[in-house]
Structure formats: C-alpha cells, structure tokens
C-alpha cells in the first residue's frame, strides 16, 4: 500500500436548484475539481461516482461532459455514505497501484428525485419491513432522542444545540443552503415531524455535487502546479452493520464506533489529535449521539461536552464548522465527498469565516441506510481521516 494524496477539490453551492439535474451537479463539481487540481481532465485514469437516487449511469453522463471516457467508471450507491464510498474505492485503487490519478465525485438532485416520486409526505421505503409499518428517518432518530433523554439526561435545549451551532456556522459558508442563524424558540416553533423533532431539527432536501482528485505521491510531485499543500488520506474505512449491531441500543451506534476505531487505527491518530470533524448531522440530536461512538468525548458525557460548547466553532473540537447537513444541505450522495472537500479547504486555510485556525487533521464521516435501524436496513458508516503533511 502506498500513500494517497488530494490534488484537487470542487463543490457546487448546495440548495434547491430545479434548473439543474443530478448529472449537471456532478459535471459542475467535477469541472471545478479538475481545475483546482490544475490538470487536464484527460489525465483521469479512474472514476467512482457516488449517489443514492440519480440515474444508474449518472457518473458516465456527468464525466463525458469533461471529455472523460474510455476509462473505468463505476457508480457506487451506499445511501448517505455513497460519497465516502466513492472516495474509498478510488483510494484503494491508487494505494494498491492500479492507477496514478482519478476522480471521486458525489452528486444528487433531490429536487429531481421529488419530481419522479410525486406526492407529499415523508419517505418510507415500501420494500423494507420498517417502511411498511410507517418508519421514517426522523422516526428512527426520534427514538435516539428518547434514549438520550432517558439515559443521558438530555433536554430539548441540548438536543437542539447542533442545529443552532451549525446554522450559526453556515452563515460564513457561501456554499451553504441556509445562511441565517436560528434560535431555540424558532426551532421549537417550526412544524412537528416526529415528536419531539420539528422541521428545523432536520436537514433540508438538497441538490449539489462535490468531487476530489486523488493521486499517488509521485503524481502529486509532478503535477501540483497550483502549489497546494500536501494532504494525505490517512485512513479510509467503509463498514456495514451486522445483525448483532442492529439488535443493540440506538443510543450508542456500534457501527459508528467500529468504523471510527478502524479509522483511528489505520491513521495512527488519536481522537484527541483531531482539529475538526465534518459528520452526518441529518437530525440535530443525531450529532450529539455520534460524539461518544466517534470518541469525541468519553462514554456518557455527550451532554456535558455539548453544554461546555466543546464542539462549537471556537470550541476544542469544532464539529461541522461548514454548517453540516443541517444548514449546508444534504444532497445524499454528494455529502460524503463534500465532507472530505471541507477538510481540504480547512487545511488550505480557505474556509473564511468558518476557518479552524491551524487545522491539520480532520475526520469526515457519513452514515447511510434506507431506513436507519429498521430490522432490514443495516446502516453503512464511511469515515475518512485526512492529514496535512508537515512541510
């Protein structure tokens, strides 16, 4: 195995854009990534494209517009972890010497998807046992809320804090869907979805694309014409739930813990070394529930750390400084690549108002499933740890 580096990143503005298709989003993000890398798109030897709901050859459809063809292109689908999966597949190919340079793109248009689906109401998958009973994503996470209230003494003020924090952060992010801070009162006054979750504790349905150009060390040395700092993929892990983990308490995600431990081990990084993290915060309380399994705080102390504002922009470990899914937006397949782009932006000191000073080591995590926690819907966790190499 050899080291893999990030040569370029590209991301579209997230939001609701009925004028663009999912393929448009992928093409736009990929063009930006190629330009940022400073290479000709024809250099690309391998491509992985992640999405959850776009057409089944969306990757080829997006990349042909850049003149990328005649190479292996594989579309990967792992729900919200699709983007991390695209990064992971490309990482493996470069690490094992199959290719020198490639692109990992995530894309989605939930506006396009909503047009296909038609109708109103929450999405429940009719082919999943939980979906047949009316279980939805906010339905599952309402149980996580109940467990945090019962076992960790969480209050609604605590559980809404990630939404408040991430909306605050997003006002500094020009690519975010929402740019205005929110108050607790506004969150609680928004319409109820699944008690105690209200609309403003849920991430929006979004459109967007994000892409990374990854390469070998040799390729980086030869082609880094834009003089980017050297950023290494220190760990990349994709991990799926087992039946045993599905049968456990939603209070503490065993899948997230197992994935995180594999990633820390692979990177040789202690959780205390992290300067920031971009994680799956589809629901406000979900972010809090992730702190312990990710080892951002000791077991049992997620509420204490939340109250100490440990994960705020100016805290010891800023989580979702970009605004996260809650306010940056969540175009499913693009979120995993976006989280990785976000770390790179921080390491390059290009994050503007949400810059974490001196950021050098970061973690990007997404969690995906058709229905988290349903008996037939195992969760997939994807984690990358990126590290800026000291010059």
């Amino acid at each position: 195995m050899r080291d893999v580096y990030v040569l370029g990143i590209g991301q579209t503005k997230f939001g609701a854009f009925p004028e663009y298709s999912s393929v448009d989003q992928g093409a736009m993000a990929s063009v930006k990534a190629v330009k940022d890398a400073g290479i000709n798109a024809k250099e690309i030897e391998m491509a992985y494209v992640g999405y959850a709901r776009a057409p089944s050859t969306a990757g080829q459809m997006a990349l042909i517009r850049l003149g990328i063809g005649g190479i292996p292109i594989a579309n990967v689908s792992n729900a919200c972890a699709s983007g991390n999966t695209a990064v992971h597949m490309l990482y493996k190919d470069i690490a094992t010497g199959l290719c020198e340079v490639g692109i990992a793109t995530g894309l989605e248009s939930l506006t396009e998807d909503a047009r296909k689906q038609g109708g109103k109401g929450l999405l429940a998958n009719r082919y999943d046992f939980g979906g047949l009973l009316g279980l939805t994503m906010p339905g599952f996470f309402s149980w996580v809320y109940m467990r945090l209230i019962d076992e960790r003494g969480a209050t609604m003020e605590d559980l809404c804090h990630p939404a408040i924090k991430n909306h605050y952060n997003a006002q500094f992010n020009p690519l975010a869907q929402y740019n205005k801070p929110l108050t607790y009162e506004q969150i609680m006054a928004s319409p109820p979805v699944v008690e105690p979750l209200t609309v403003l504790q849920c991430c929006p349905q979004s459109d967007g694309g994000a892409a990374l150009i990854l390469c070998s060390e040799e390729y980086f040395k030869k082609h880094n014409v834009n003089h980017h700092p050297k950023i290494r993929i220190a760990a990349s892990v994709i991990h799926s739930a087992s039946w045993l983990t599905i049968q456990k308490d939603p209070l503490f995600s065993t899948v997230v813990r197992e994935t995180a431990d594999k990633a820390y081990h692979m990177a040789g990084v202690d959780p205390k070394d992290l300067d920031l993290a971009e994680i799956h915060d589809a629901f406000s309380g979900e972010e809090i529930a992730a702190y312990e399994p990710l080892r951002f705080c000791p077991e049992g102390e997620c509420i204490k750390y939340t109250r100490e504002r440990y994960f705020d922009l100016k805290g010891k470990l800023p989580v979702n400084p970009s605004g996260g899914l809650l306010s940056l937006g969540h175009p499913l397949g693009a979120s995993g690549t976006r989280a990785n782009c976000e770390l790179v932006r921080q390491f390059r000191n290009q994050a503007g108002g949400y810059q974490v000073p001196g950021a050098r080591i970061g973690l990007a995590q997404m969690l995906g499933a058709v229905l988290l926690g349903g008996p037939e819907s195992p969760v997939i966790c994807g984690i990358q740890i990126l590290e800026k190499v000291r010059s």
């Binding site: 929450l122 046992f129 009316g134 279980l135 109940m146 979805v193 939603p250």
Partner: protein, 141 residues
Amino acid sequence: MNKQRYLRDGIIGDNNGTLSLIGHLCADCGKKSFPPFELCPYCSSENVKNVFLSNEATILAASTTRAPVPPYKPPFTLAMVDIDGEIRTIGRIEKEEQVKIKKGDKLTLKIGKLYEETEFNKQTKTNEMIDIIGYYFVPKK
C-alpha cells in the same frame, strides 16, 4: 368484506387458535430472530426453524409521527420494542392519543388490519379493496 392479505407472507401464523408472529430459532447458536430470513442473521447457519414469538413486548423508545407517511395518516405512534427479551424490532402502537407511553411499558401484540390498498382485478377489470393484515401493539392493561 374486503379481500385480505398479510403485510408479508411467512411472518404471521396460527398458534393454537391465536394468531402470532413467526420468528426463527437457530439450532446452532440458539438465538431467535425476526423477521425470518434465509439463514440465521447471527451465525449464518441453515439450521433455523420457525417458532411463534410471545404476544408480549416491552417498549425501549416510542414516538408519535405528526406528518403523513403514506398510506398512514398522522398522528400515529411507532416504537422500538423487545419481544421475548431477545428480539428488538419495531411496531405500530394503537392507542388513544392522550394515553402516554414510555420506556419499560408493557404491550400486547395484536394481529389485524393496518391499512387498505386498491388493486386492479384483471379478471373482473375492476378496482377492489384489499385489507393489509399485519401486527401492532396495544398498551397492556
């Protein structure tokens, strides 16, 4: 009377005159699972046989959905429940809205209609209503 169809084949059966849920018991690892799959989801053994599950369950967490989830109309309550102390699954809870439920509350399993579906009958060339029969829980008195 409408035609009836189970939510899914193979999950409900007649246990000495009472309709019950069917799970799998693995002869190799000894664990019970629900719904029944092709192999034991714990140890991948083929040595699984159908067993009837208890008609009693305990709530781990429950919540009320306030938005429509077709074919269900709000409000409705769903819970993560434990059956037989070893199967953690999900179920709908039928109750009066003012009845509060919480972790540790005991439930009784019922088999009955969850919703109706319209289906086109190719022979009669008419739409007919089908009752979808599944399981739900009621708070134990």
